[in-house]
């Protein structure tokens, strides 16, 4: 955080929540990016993601009971894909925090948190469908928006649409 800058209450709340997580998990999480629009940190050690998720949901001072959104993202420059999760303590502590995770662009995987928040179930399927990373431990890891036999993952920056799908011309 830069000195002398006015920091809004919601960012302060997020920073307080982050410090509890950082205290418990240390180097497994990165430093907090306390920007005004969406304060976030990254889970560096993705193997501990489920553990962190459970801690976030159940700790008395965190209570992140609501996963608002899970977004898949492509980082072609780093040869990585990732997800961004937006959390909130709904109707309890009312603070928000976003978390990023990254994995290898080809054949990478991230542990699934569908067992922690039901919201993650379909969102992780969507991220897999559009970006191609798999979620280990997910109860039903298959496509959700595209047909099951679609080729490629459409939201990757270098995606090329298939010529034909069941004999039908695809690009127009």
């Amino acid at each position: 955080m830069e000195e002398g800058k006015v920091v809004s209450q919601s960012v302060q709340d997020s920073a307080a929540a982050y410090s509890i997580i950082h205290e418990r998990f240390g180097a497994a999480v990165s430093a907090l990016d306390a920007n005004e629009t969406m304060p976030f940190f990254e889970v560096v050690d993705t193997d501990r993601w489920v553990e962190i998720a459970l801690f976030m949901r159940d700790h008395a001072k965190l209570k992140f009971n609501y996963m608002a959104c899970l977004t898949g993202v492509d980082y072609p420059a780093e040869e990585k894909v990732g997800i961004i999760c937006n959390f909130e303590s709904l109707a309890q502590l009312n603070h928000k925090l976003a978390i990023k995770l990254k994995c290898a662009r080809k054949g990478g995987s991230i542990p699934s948190v569908a067992c922690v928040w039901h919201t993650a179930n379909w969102h992780e399927r969507e991220a897999y469908d559009l970006f191609g990373m798999t979620f280990t431990g997910h109860p039903e890891m298959k496509r959700i928006l595209c047909p099951d036999d679609w080729e490629g993952h459409p939201l990757l920056k270098d995606y090329k649409v298939q010529e034909k799908y069941h004999g039908i011309k695809v690009p127009y």
Binding site: N65, V73, A91, H123, L155
Partner: protein
């Protein structure tokens, strides 16, 4: 009943004779049947397919199959400028185009860090609330049809037509408006618009009550929805439910109040939750009651906005719109309370391009629908229709 358990694996057919169960047939072979509901089924409100595993009349599992209306909204956004995304957002939840535009405009404005004229804020809220009423009218009307009540549907569409007429007058389109732009509005409302809106409010208030009586006074409707598809509050939150669905489960949560945006903090309205007197909290009837009561709250909001709105003198609806929309590098997750719940936009900008690097729409219907598997377990097939109707899905937003 104990002897019934010991007689074999298959089902039995029994009859009751003077307080005793007499077995007529035993070891009846039953098998699970797969029943495909949709994608062309009228009760699934669009192109949703439900693969139901049924044991007789009872559903053991209902798996939603989506994607029939997938149009790569997010991929489209990466290839067009920020303002050009607005018409696409109309096509997400096509029953509440104004609200979707509003949510998107808010997200980009947060990224740009700009203030918009006060009159524009009020007009936005007025059109968004009008659209909310129109959307709830469709939800309530079609829900009636699902459960066999035809008249409310006609009443709903009669009144919705007036709202669509008003919005058409302001924006030029009936459903896909492209009216709320980033940084302002496409144009100011016509001269007599606010007067006509006020007239509509006076006209609609008794009609809403009448509509409410028509459904909740209908015993068939109540019997079909009361105690059906109950969702406890904590599970609803864990599923990420929002909007009338979450409030139906008794959680007093409304983004207009709990994460306020635009001019909502200045406006007095009630966050509706069921009181548990007429319905079981969290059931289909609760969700219906919340929607019905929300229309009245929207009317209140509209009235207050018309009272408080600054005059159109010297107002330019495009004065705050930047010439070239190119936000500085950063990302934002911003959301708004739509008729169906939280519509969120995650937008990432690299600071160089006039196109978003990533634009994700967090759809409320998509999330609400994901609970279908749990909601439908052990329900009867006709109750499944009641449950889908109460979720009030718009497939345009589910599939994006």
């Amino acid at each position: 009943m104990q002897e019934l358990d010991t007689i074999g694996q298959g089902s039995v057919r029994v009859t009751r004779k003077s307080d005793k169960l007499v077995i007529l047939e035993k070891d009846l072979a039953t098998e699970q049947m797969v029943l495909a509901m949709g994608p062309q089924h009228p009760s699934t409100h669009g192109v949703l397919k439900l693969e139901c595993l049924t044991d007789g009349e009872v559903i053991t599992e209902a798996i939603p199959v989506l994607g029939y209306l997938h149009r790569c909204f997010e991929k489209c956004c990466e290839n067009i400028d920020y303002p050009a995304v607005v018409p696409y957002t109309d096509r997400l939840d096509y029953l509440a185009g104004m609200n979707s535009e509003f949510a998107y405009a808010l997200a980009v404005e947060k990224l740009l860090d700009i203030e918009i004229p006060r009159r524009a804020e009020f007009i936005r809220v007025i059109v968004a609330e009008l659209n909310r009423i129109a959307s709830h009218l469709v939800a309530i009307g079609t829900y009636g049809i699902d459960l066999g009540a035809f008249t409310p549907f006609l009443f709903c569409f009669r009144d919705r037509e007036i709202i669509l007429g008003l919005l058409e007058w302001a924006s030029g389109a009936r459903m896909l408006y492209n009216y709320i732009w980033i940084g302002g509005l496409a144009c100011d409302v016509p001269a007599d618009f606010l007067k006509r809106v006020r007239e509509f409010v006076t006209y609609f208030r008794p009609k809403a009550v009448e509509l409410q009586e028509l459904l909740t006074g209908n015993e068939i409707f109540v019997k079909r929805t009361h105690g059906i598809g109950i969702m406890p509050a904590d599970v609803a939150i864990n599923y990420g439910w929002s909007g009338p669905m979450l409030r139906g489960s008794g959680v007093k949560w409304d983004l207009r109040r709990n994460d306020p945006y635009s001019v909502y903090p200045e406006i007095d309205f009630k966050v509706v939750v069921p009181d548990g007197k007429h319905s079981v909290i969290g059931d289909c009837l609760s969700r219906h009651l919340v929607r019905a009561a929300e229309m009245e709250e929207s009317l209140k909001i509209i009235e207050q906005c018309i009272d408080k709105i600054p005059s159109s003198e010297g107002f330019n609806s495009r004065s705050a719109i930047p010439k070239r929309i190119r936000p500085k590098a950063g990302e934002v997750y911003s959301r708004a309370e739509n008729p169906r719940g939280e519509l969120g936009f995650y937008i990432e900008s690299d600071g160089k391009s006039t196109k978003p690097i990533r634009c994700k729409a967090r759809s409320s219907c998509f999330v609400n629908l994901s609970a279908m598997k749990d909601l439908s377990k052990g329900q009867l097939i006709p109750d499944l229709v009641a449950i889908i109707g109460s979720i009030d899905i718009v497939l345009g937003e589910v599939d994006r």
